[in-house]
Each structure stands twice: as C-alpha cells, then as structure tokens.
C-alpha cells in the first residue's frame, strides 16, 4: 500500500504536500488564516512595487494616431530620447564621478580617524569622541551652511559642494570604530614588532579585514550621492553641473510646482512627453534597483551595527 502510493506520485508530489503542510498548516482554520496572511503580504508587496511598475509601464507607452484613432502603443522610443539627450548623460557622468570620489575619500578619512579611536591606549580618545558626538547633536542649520559655502568658501557652481560637506559623518566613524575594535589586537602587536607604523598597519592589516564595513559605509555614502538633490538646489545654477537628482527635479517637479529653486528656464525639458519623463525616472533609479538585491544585507548589517553603543 505504502510502496504503491510512493510509486504513484513520486518524490515531487510528496515534497509538494510536505511544503503545503509546512506553509499552510493542517487544520482548516489554520489553512484559512495562513492563506489570508499570504494574500495580505502579497497585497503589501504589490503596493510596494506598484509605483515602480506604474512608471515602467508608462515609460513604454505612448499615444499614437492609428487609422484616425488615438491608440496606446508600446515602444522603447522614450529610452532612446533620454539616452540621446546630452544633459542626461552629463548629469549621469557627473553623479558617477562625484560618487566614486566621495566614497573613496569618505572611507579614507573615516578609517583614518576611526583607527586611533579604536585603540584603548590612544590618549585623548575621550576628547575626540566628544568632538564627534557634538556634530551629531548640533548643527548650524541651513543658513550658516549656505553662507559658508556661498560667501566664505565661494563654492557656488563648484563640484566641491557635492564632495566635501558631509564627507565625514560621526555616525559612520563610530560604526567603523566598533568594527575595528572587533579585530584581534594580536595582529597589530605582531606588526608593531616588525616595526610597522600606524599607517602601514591600518592600510595593510586592518583595511583588508574590513570588507563588510567598507561595503556598508561605501554604500551609504554612495546612495547619499545618488539621492543628493539639496546641494544642487542650493548651490548650483549651471545646468551642466547638475547631479542626476537635480536633472530629474527639473524634469519632474519644477514645471508643475511654484517653488523658486531650480532652473526654471529649461523649457525644452518641461515640454517633455509623459513617457520620456517616466523613462528618465526608470533610468534614474535603475542603478539602485539593480544593485539593491545584492547589497541589501550590508545596509541591514550596518543599520544594526550602528545600534550598538559606541
């Protein structure tokens, strides 16, 4: 009896039944509850994805007159328009270059201060920690920063405003510091015996062991550059120096909103067809969406490391 059953639907059917039991339960009440639960989260997932799908579909659609009737046609033409547009390419290249420079510099500078702070024998550690902590608690706010950039440093329309403000984040330093503290001291002691100086120890011993935390901090900084629109709104009036978010802001928002920031005069962009607008959004979020599934674990790890007291 048992063997014939086994022969009939084989391993797959059994596995499927097993899976069903584990996932949905055995009792009818449990099955109903679990089904509703899965449907609920399916709905949530769809809601989360809906705006993305909406944009994607709209970017592929255009209205055309066929036989005297307006019909919706699927086409990739909008992507061609966007990619042919030199302002889009310029903004994209600017963003990538700024991103690479800022990520490298941020990691370099943050590691260089986090390393001494991770050493218990480092005198003045307390002072440095307070010095960093204060930057987390207080900030000058928008106006003093604006005056600093525009009148003291005179960085209006300079690429430097994308890179240097906010390059060192106290939070990032604390996260790196607590990571470095987890690396055994014996490695450092061995290197000290070999006569290595702190720079050599940091860059040839600690940095190679810090892959995960570098990924985490690098991704944070990278995403902040990809999503940076504020610097452009405040300090950049030259349309050739826009970051991708500022270009998108001009295309998507400036035309319809009445606020005063931005480059109001770009009439060519304002008159863009809907599908071209949507295509530019798709291209704008594509780097994040493509990388996201592979790197999300680093974001989550970093978020949780940070919640450990420094």
């Amino acid at each position: 009896m048992v063997t014939s059953q086994k022969g009939k639907d084989g391993g797959f059917g059994r596995a499927a039944r097993h899976f069903f039991k584990r996932t949905f339960g055995k009792k009818p009440g449990t099955i109903v509850f679990n089904t509703l639960l899965y449907l609920f989260f399916l709905l949530i997932t769809v809601i989360m994805l809906y705006p993305f799908l909406y944009v994607l579909i709209k970017s592929l659609q255009t209205r055309e007159l066929i036989d005297g009737e307006s019909q919706i046609v699927l086409t990739l033409a909008a992507y061609g328009t966007v990619l042919d547009d030199s302002s889009y390419i310029t903004a994209f290249v600017t963003t990538i270059v700024v991103l690479v420079i800022k990520v490298v510099l941020a990691l370099l500078v943050s590691f260089m201060i986090a390393y001494p702070l991770s050493k218990h024998y480092f005198k003045g550690r307390k002072f440095y920690l307070v010095f960093l902590m204060i930057t987390m608690l207080f900030s000058g706010g928008m106006i003093p920063n604006y005056i600093l950039i525009t009148q003291v440093l005179e960085w209006r329309n300079s690429y430097l405003v994308y890179i240097f403000p906010g390059l060192v984040g106290a939070y990032n330093v604390f996260v790196i510091k607590s990571f470095l503290q987890g690396i055994p001291d014996s490695l450092e002691e061995a290197a000290l015996l070999d006569g290595a100086n702190p720079f050599v120890i940091l860059f040839f011993i600690y940095v190679p062991l810090s892959g995960p935390i570098m990924a985490t901090i690098g991704l944070w900084v990278g995403v902040s550059v990809m999503n940076n629109w504020m610097s452009g709104v405040l300090y950049i009036t030259d349309a050739n120096k826009r970051l991708i978010q500022n270009l998108l802001r001009d295309i998507l928002l400036t035309a319809s909103s009445t606020d005063v920031g931005g480059w109001g005069g770009d009439s060519e962009l304002m008159a863009m067809a809907e599908n071209v607008k949507m295509a530019s959004i798709v291209i704008g979020i594509l780097p994040i969406v493509i990388m996201y599934p592979f790197v999300q674990k680093y974001f989550i790890k970093g978020m949780l490391v940070g919640s450990v007291k420094g």
């Binding site: 989360m48 709209k58 608690l137 106006i143 003093p144 604006y146 005056i147 600093l148 009148q151 920031g261």
Partner: protein, 336 residues
C-alpha cells in the same frame, strides 16, 4: 625592536611610586614624550577628519550667532553688528521677538507639529503590525521576498517619489479613474489641503514602513525559540504566543522607537515636503523648514531665518535629550 617591547611594557606597567615630586614630574613628562614619539602618527591620521568637521560642522555652528545679529552682506557673519530692535536699540533677541510676534511663523510651526503628529499616529504602528504578522509566516522564501521588497522604497529619493506621485495622480491616470468611480469626482492631491495631507502620510508610510521593520525584526531574532516551544507544550495557540511572547519580546524596541520618533516632532520631513508641496497647499503643507528656506535662501533674510532655525533645533535638541534621558532611566540603552 627590543626597545619597543620594553617601552610598551613600561607604558602599561602600573605607575611606580617615586620619592620626590620633582623627579616624578620629570618622569611623567618623559613618559608622555616617549608615548608621543611612538604614537604621533595616530594623531596625524585624525587631522583630515578634524579639519573637515571644523569647517563643515563647527564653523556653521558658530555661524548661528547670526540669529543674534543684524546681517550685513559686506561684513559677513562675524563682522555683522549685534541685533537692534525697531527703535535702533541694542537687543540681541530682536529676531526672536519678531518671530514670536509673527502669526505666520506660528502657523508654520503648527503645520510642522500637525504633520509630525499625524505621521506618528498613522505611521508608527504600521511596521509593528507588519512584523507581528510576518512572524506568523512559515514560508521563509516569501517572508524574505516581502521584506526585501518593502525595504526598497527607502532608497528612492523624495524627488523621484514626488515625480511618481504627480504622474500617478494625473487626471487621466488609473488612480483618478478609480477615484472617480468610487467618489464620483477626481481628487486634486496637490491642490487640496486635506488630500495633500493624506498623500504626505501615505507616501511617508510607503517609503519608510518597510525599512523601520528592520529594528523590530532584529528584536524578534533575539527571542529564544525555547519560549515558543514551552508555550506550545502548554497548549498556547498562535494568538497567545503573539500576545505573550512576541509582543513583550519586541516591546523594548517599540518603546525606544516611540520615544525617539516623538522627540523628532519638530522636524516634519523637509525632503518630502519640499519636493511635494506648492503654493496652493501652503495652509497645511508649509512647514517651518520650508518656510525657512523661502525666507532665508530665497528671500535673503538670513538673520531672521537663522533665528528660526535655531529655535527649531533647540526644541529638537531638548526633545532628543529628554528622550534619551527617559530611555536611559527606564533601563534601556539610549544612544548616549
């Protein structure tokens, strides 16, 4: 090499009790120089970060003195004279007095508090409910998938989200057609006060609820599975397990999140509002920070705006410190 080891050993050795204060002081100084010669490079390493923080964090903090001064574009922040009142008398609090007597300022402040409070009421429970329900799912793949997807909006900027929302609520969009069928008319989300608030709240939940689950999921993972097993032996059902094990397990995390969310009530989300609002919804949508941007950056009233910013951040700071104090008092781990 040998020297280094002995030096290190000396460094960690307990301070010897020496007779004669003079001698001891010299030894201490010598010790310090020995330490410094060995470790000066560690101090060199910190210089770039310190310089950057001094310029981009500490200098603007010092620039907040502008709130007490009358801005003079040729003299800069440091050279500007201290603030005077309408009669030309010295009164460093003049700008604050102007603000306190300004109805518009209080309206914007009220808008800020209203939007923050509504966000807390509508948005705060959402990730908790999600996590509690997610905990009931037995299919790891689906669980992981729905988590991953709900984190995604967190990484999309408000510029793009505002752009998507505008496209989604256009007159010929499917959402408007649906609303037309349900309510009999279209909803002008970007022009009608109430609908704008709804849009602000919903989009905020859409962007952040998923990401906020992470903290609760981390708290969940610390609950011992043995508790559930023991409860099952005692015949506890799904509901009792959620009520008596899961919920208490994540309660500390909920409390801490709640306290810190409430402490952030003075900032209602500049990035979101700035990209979504327009002059037709200023009555409810214009918050203190966007008002500050328009009076300060656009209108050029730097001193008054600096006072506004200082007012807002002092309130924020007091609330944050209070929150931290409460968390520490309650036995939890605050951020400091």
């Amino acid at each position: 090499m040998e020297e280094k080891i002995t030096a290190a050993a000396e460094e960690y050795a307990p301070a010897e009790t020496k007779s004669g204060g003079q001698k001891m002081r010299r030894t201490r100084r010598e010790k310090f120089w020995a330490y410094f010669r060995r470790n000066y490079m560690l101090y060199l390493m910190t210089i770039p970060a310190v310089v950057l923080l001094l310029i981009f964090n500490y200098y603007p903090m010092a620039g907040l003195q502008l709130a007490f001064k009358d801005w003079n574009p040729w003299e800069g922040i440091w050279g500007s004279p201290w603030a005077t009142n309408a009669d030309g008398e010295l009164d460093v609090l003049a700008h604050f007095k102007t603000l306190m007597g300004n109805d518009l300022f209080w309206t914007k402040f009220g808008n800020t508090l209203r939007i923050s409070a509504l966000k807390i009421v509508t948005g705060f429970p959402v990730p908790i409910i999600f996590v509690l329900l997610m905990n009931e799912m037995a299919w790891p793949f689906f669980k992981k998938l729905s988590q991953t997807i709900s984190y995604l909006p967190h990484f999309i900027s408000w510029v793009i989200i505002a752009g998507i929302l505008m496209a989604m609520t256009q007159t010929d969009s499917s959402m408007q057609l649906l609303l037309e069928r349900v309510f009999g008319h279209q909803v002008l989300f970007f022009a009608d006060n109430t609908s704008f608030l709804v849009l602000v709240l919903v989009s905020d939940i859409w962007k952040n609820a998923g990401w906020e689950m992470i903290i609760y999921l981390a708290a969940l993972s610390t609950i011992s599975p043995e508790l559930y097993e023991a409860a099952e032996v005692d015949g506890a059902g799904r509901w009792s397990k959620m009520r008596y094990i899961t919920l208490p397990g994540i309660m500390p995390a909920i409390c801490i999140r709640l306290i810190f969310t409430v402490s952030g009530i003075a900032s209602a989300g500049f990035d979101q509002i700035f990209n979504m609002y327009n002059s037709t919804v200023y009555d409810v949508g214009d918050i203190l920070e966007t008002y500050l941007y328009r009076t300060g950056i656009v209108g050029g009233q730097y001193d008054l705006s600096a006072a506004m910013g200082l007012f807002n951040s002092v309130i924020g700071l007091i609330l944050t410190l209070t929150a931290n104090w409460i968390v520490n008092k309650a036995g939890g781990e605050g951020i400091w």
